[in-house]
């Protein structure tokens, strides 16, 4: 088997919130153009893991990180790292869709504008491209100047995906992106994700194990800050190697 390009590598990653250790020596790889699902019960460190990857964790007081994280062979906690550039490269979608309090167009043009793109035609092109990639274009193309807050929950989440895509990221982190959505909207977001992996690398944290089995290529199971198991999704959901994984997947705890 050909060794795929490893986009993200973590080595012995530990994270503490004060005295509480939220992640315990996590070592794993995320390969290019895959969807890595991360499942596990509440407080198992899944979201913390995502927040370390784009250094959103910097905002939380009293956190400590040790170990290494390499993204495209670059140490992200190293000196001389431009955190803003890192966050543009590693996009993030949150559990609750958070349109910024501005129009649909401006929501998407927000990132590119700050990257110095001023030309109207260019912005229009980026907005259209991003909305199409997020499967939202047909639903909103006639009302781009409406407030982003007037969209439905599922549309808002896809707006957030489009907003992230407009930054031309390389990796996209999804933090329980469908937890507040109905099944139809969830289906649309999942469809968008499967389409996105052709061009991007995705990490999907989800509380819904079925969702991981539907879209993830590989799945990792976190428990109490530890990585219990990581394997091909199909294999993990049919013959889990660890007893705890089996219990969680079959719904016996968590």
């Amino acid at each position: 088997m050909v060794d795929k390009l490893a986009r993200i590598v973590t080595e012995e990653l530990n994270v503490w919130y004060g005295a509480h250790q939220a992640l315990k020596s996590i070592s794993l790889k995320v390969e290019a153009n895959e969807i890595l699902g991360i499942i596990g019960p509440a407080n198992s460190g899944k979201s913390t893991f995502l927040q370390v990857l784009n250094r959103l964790i910097d905002l939380k007081p009293q956190t400590r990180v040790s170990g290494r994280i390499l993204i495209d062979n670059q140490e992200i906690f190293g000196a001389n790292i431009d955190v803003e550039a890192l966050r543009r490269k590693i996009g993030m979608i949150f559990a609750l869709p958070i349109p910024l309090p501005m129009s649909i167009f401006d929501n998407i043009a927000y990132g590119p504008r700050r990257n110095g793109i001023k030309k109207k035609s260019m912005l229009e092109e980026i907005v259209e491209e991003s909305l199409k990639a997020a499967y939202l274009w047909d639903e909103v193309k006639d009302r781009l100047s409406d407030s982003g807050l007037n969209l439905s929950g599922g549309q808002q989440q896809r707006l957030c995906i489009a907003r992230t895509l407009a930054l031309k990221p390389e990796v996209i982190l999804f933090d329980e992106p469908c937890s507040g959505l109905d099944p139809v909207s969830t289906g649309k977001v999942e469809e968008a994700m499967l389409e996105l992996k052709k061009n991007y690398t995705l990490v999907l944290v989800t509380n819904n194990t079925k969702q991981a089995s539907r879209v993830a290529d590989r799945t990792a199971f976190f428990l109490m800050g530890e990585l219990i198991e990581i394997n091909n999704t199909q294999e993990m959901f049919t013959v889990p190697r660890d007893k705890r994984t089996e219990d969680y997947i079959s719904g016996r705890f968590g």
Binding site: L100, P101, Y110, G111, T164
Partner: protein
């Protein structure tokens, strides 16, 4: 068993409810009564001068014969002092609110908040006193003026009085912006300043505008400090470095010398009506912004 019965518990409940209702209504009745009283007393002056000449008349000589009741110079005096105070207090107040809400944490934040609130507790006569003794001589010296009691002096002292309102209400509005907005903007690669400028401030804009309006409302209504430091000359100021007189200080200074029921007495009440309308409009606008639906 479920039949309604009057017992002491019920009567107590009914009594408390009534008392609370009454307290609520009393404040509205009081405002109404004050306005009616003002109107009743003030309206008589319009038998002597018509309202347009009253507001646009340039001369205010209430005791000469025949008297001149034109309050334009007083309105412009109030306007000049308020404008000056707003120019100083609004940027300073809003930026200081941003600093307290977004930059400081923990003890520093608490200290600053207490300090700002303490500023609101200083009696206005003390502010005026400091203005006369400390600020006026400085202004006189720096600008080489015959007197340091000018519009500028009043503006500076009043801006200090408007600051607590502006800072604490703006700060509340900024703090109320959900943390999720900030995280979302930062996750898009925005810097801290870009996040504040493009996301946090627009979301808090309603509250910030309201804070500014309320601060300005306070400046217009302020009497004691402004009377002490602006020089009290009832003529139209042509620059910030001239003395002026405001609507409020005219009432305060002259009410004691008038005969009740005289034309002068009624004219002062008419000034009160003008003042009431101005502050009412300002507070009402502030309220609209405060309660406007979030975009």
């Amino acid at each position: 068993m479920l039949k309604k019965r009057w017992n002491h518990k019920k009567i107590f409940e009914w009594g408390i409810e009534g008392l609370i209702k009454l307290s609520g209504i009393v404040s509205i009745i009081l405002v109404g009564l004050i306005f009616i009283f003002l109107l009743k007393e003030g309206i008589s002056v319009f038998k002597i001068v018509n309202p347009i000449n009253f507001i646009l008349g340039k001369e205010w000589h209430p005791v000469s014969k025949p008297p001149d009741f034109g309050i334009l110079s007083l309105i412009l005096g109030s306007f000049a002092v308020t404008l000056g105070a707003a120019i100083i207090a609004l940027p300073l107040g809003v930026t200081s609110a941003i600093f307290i809400a977004e930059v400081t944490t923990g003890k520093t934040k608490e200290m600053l908040k207490i300090g700002i609130e303490f500023l609101a507790a200083i009696p206005s006569v003390v502010i005026g006193f400091v203005g006369i003794v400390v600020l006026a001589p400085v202004i006189q010296k720096v600008f080489d003026l015959p007197t340091g009691l000018t519009v500028l002096t009043g503006s500076i002292m009043l801006s200090i009085m408007a600051m607590p309102t502006i800072v604490s209400i703006s700060e509340d509005a900024i703090t109320a912006v959900p943390k999720r907005y900030r995280e979302a903007a930062l996750a898009l690669g925005a810097t801290r300043w870009q996040t504040i400028w493009r996301v946090v401030l627009p979301s808090a804009s309603g509250g910030i505008v309201a804070a500014c309006m309320l601060g300005i409302g306070r400046v217009i209504g302020e009497t004691m400090a402004v009377m002490m430091v602006t020089g009290n000359a009832p003529r139209i100021p042509h620059s910030l470095l001239e003395p002026a007189r405001t609507l409020t200080s005219t009432i305060a200074a002259e009410m004691g010398e008038t005969v009740q029921g005289s034309e002068h007495y009624f004219a002062l009440f008419a000034i009160g009506i003008v003042l009431f309308i101005i502050t009412f409009v300002i507070n009402f606008t502030a309220d609209l912004f405060l309660h406007k639906e979030k975009v």
